[in-house]
């Protein structure tokens, strides 16, 4: 269970670093980094992230979840993906 969680979170973290924070150290993005309110994910990036999650995990982030209430922190995104995976 622990490992699976880290994998999902780690994969998402790697994706965000690669796509939206190129050249930044991995330390700059942790569990408490505010992704949307902190400006890491803007309107274009959020769309790309949603596409990535669908592609990589077959998971659909619902329209009402596409905002800072659900996607602001790495652990929240990872849990959302995992709970959606468990459903399908």
């Amino acid at each position: 269970m622990e490992t699976a969680q880290t994998d999902v979170k780690g994969t998402i973290k790697d994706y965000i670093l690669r796509e939206f924070l190129p050249g930044e150290s991995p330390d700059s993005l942790d569990d408490t980094t505010p992704l949307i309110t902190g400006g890491v994910l803007d309107s274009i990036a959020t769309v790309k992230l949603i596409a990535f999650l669908e592609e990589r995990y077959g998971v659909q982030i619902e329209p009402h979840e596409m905002n800072a209430d659900y996607l602001n922190f790495l652990p929240d995104i990872a849990s959302l993906v995992e709970s959606r995976q468990a459903q399908s």
Partner: protein
């Protein structure tokens, strides 16, 4: 004259900023894209003040060098004259990296269109999309080639309707809904040798526009109306946005459109003074009415709307072109996702509709005074779009709400949302009076 193909992956209707953005990104993704535009470019249109957020889209489509080389006039910020108070903003204060431009839309739009062509989009101008066939078994667009009068049909897998005020799909399916709160008329024209206002409330002569950066002026007229003053390379765009009673007065003014327009502009405080030594270019005046409407639908199976075809509000916060490029980007993303994974197309279409609806709600609510919102459901979703903006964009939006009373619905919402970065901002200045550059130089010397 090249033949228009009978088949394509995607047909994009319209070659303005929304259409060329969508087409460009899809072509870059390997799709065969045909773009139809009823006009021949270059062609004039309005929406000439563009916020610096536009650069992220210009960069995505690969038009950065071309836009820089065009040498559009760089504006330093805005001058809002509302109920007798003059307030100014400086865009550099907000941390934007790219300059903010005043663009001649014929040139700007053509640059974007030609870049799209270079990326592989097949562009056909003076071709009017007459009918869209949306059934999956039969999807395509029927068109008329204005040059030859020939009718034709392109079969395709996806359609992006970026047809602007023409709103092909919305009109065909009957869901174009006028915005009850915003039944406006706009009349605009182009002046030679107009003076302008720079930072610090300085009135500068026309010749200085490259040396001393102009501001975009928005000056209120009565309760709802306003006038814009946008300095460009060779002339100045001046335009009126009039509420229904004002529009009726304007139309009743007799005489020809050019004369009525010129007289109306010269009568106004401040802008009228700037036009003292200026001359209206004959034949340059245009008018449009009821250009504000709302989207009751934004997308469906195999199609989506982008740019003004989706919705338009009011140009007061310079958001039209940005909204067009954003929705064009979203349209390209959606078309690509639907075509790659047809079994998930309902989901992707839903994503598109949600994100674009949020963005349009924000656009709309930023132009609405308090007590004039017939569509309260917009409030909550507008904030979600604001959350996705960069810090600079959020702070600028908050400041924009303080410059005119048009954003009275939005201001309290922004202040209440803890997920936004700015609940207050002081990045604007009240200017007690405008001072001619000459007298300032004399005083200094």
């Amino acid at each position: 004259m090249e033949d228009i193909p009978s088949k394509a992956d995607v047909v994009v209707i319209g070659g303005g900023p929304a259409g060329s953005t969508a087409a460009n990104l899809l072509a870059q993704n390997g799709y065969e894209v045909v773009l139809l535009d009823q006009a021949r470019h270059p062609r004039n249109t309005v929406g000439e003040s563009v916020l610096p957020h536009v650069w992220k889209y210009i960069d995505e489509v690969g038009a950065t060098e071309d836009i820089r080389k065009a040498g559009f006039i760089r504006k330093s910020g805005g001058t809002a004259i509302w109920r007798g108070v003059i307030r100014q903003t400086t865009l550099a204060d907000f941390g934007f990296t790219g300059p903010s431009l005043h663009v001649e839309r014929d040139e700007f739009d053509e640059i974007l269109l030609r870049v799209a062509q270079r990326k592989g989009v097949q562009v056909f101008e003076e071709v009017v999309a007459r009918h869209v066939h949306l059934d999956s078994s039969d999807r395509g667009v029927t068109y008329i080639d204005r040059r030859s009068g020939d009718e034709g049909r392109i079969s395709c897998r996806y359609i992006v309707d970026a047809s602007g005020q023409g709103a092909v799909i919305a009109n065909q399916l009957g869901f174009r809904e006028f915005d009850n709160d915003l039944r406006f008329m706009s009349v605009w024209g182009y002046y030679d040798d107009s003076a302008y206002v720079a930072q610090g409330g300085l009135i500068c002569p026309w010749e200085k526009r490259r040396e001393i950066s102009p501001t975009t002026i928005q000056a209120g007229i009565g309760d709802w109306g306003w006038i814009w003053h946008i300095v460009q390379k060779e002339y100045t765009s001046v335009g009126l946005v009039l509420a229904p009673t004002q529009a009726a007065e304007f139309k009743a003014g007799g005489a020809k459109l050019d004369e009525r327009f010129d007289a109306a502009c010269r009568k106004l405080p401040i802008v009228g003074d700037l036009l003292q030594d200026a001359r209206l270019r004959p034949g340059s005046v245009r008018a449009i009415r009821d250009f504000a409407y709302r989207p009751s639908r934004l997308a469906g199976d195999g199609w989506c709307l982008a740019g003004d075809a989706a919705a338009f509000v009011d140009p007061i916060n310079s958001a039209g072109v940005i909204t067009a490029t954003y929705t064009g980007f979203a349209a390209a993303w959606t078309a690509d996702a639907c075509l790659k994974k047809p079994s998930k197309r309902d989901y992707f279409t839903d994503v598109f509709s949600t994100l674009v609806r949020q963005r349009l709600a924000l656009f709309r609510i930023s132009a609405l005074p308090a007590g004039h919102n017939s569509y309260l459901e917009d409030n909550a979703i507008a904030l979600r779009a604001a959350q996705l903006d960069s810090h600079s964009e959020q702070e600028l939006l908050l400041v924009q709400t303080k410059l005119t009373d048009r954003s009275e619905n939005l201001a309290p919402l922004l202040q209440m949302d803890p997920k936004l970065n700015y609940q207050s901002s002081d990045k604007y200045r009240e200017v007690p009076e405008l001072v001619p550059l000459e007298s300032q130089l004399q005083a200094a010397g």
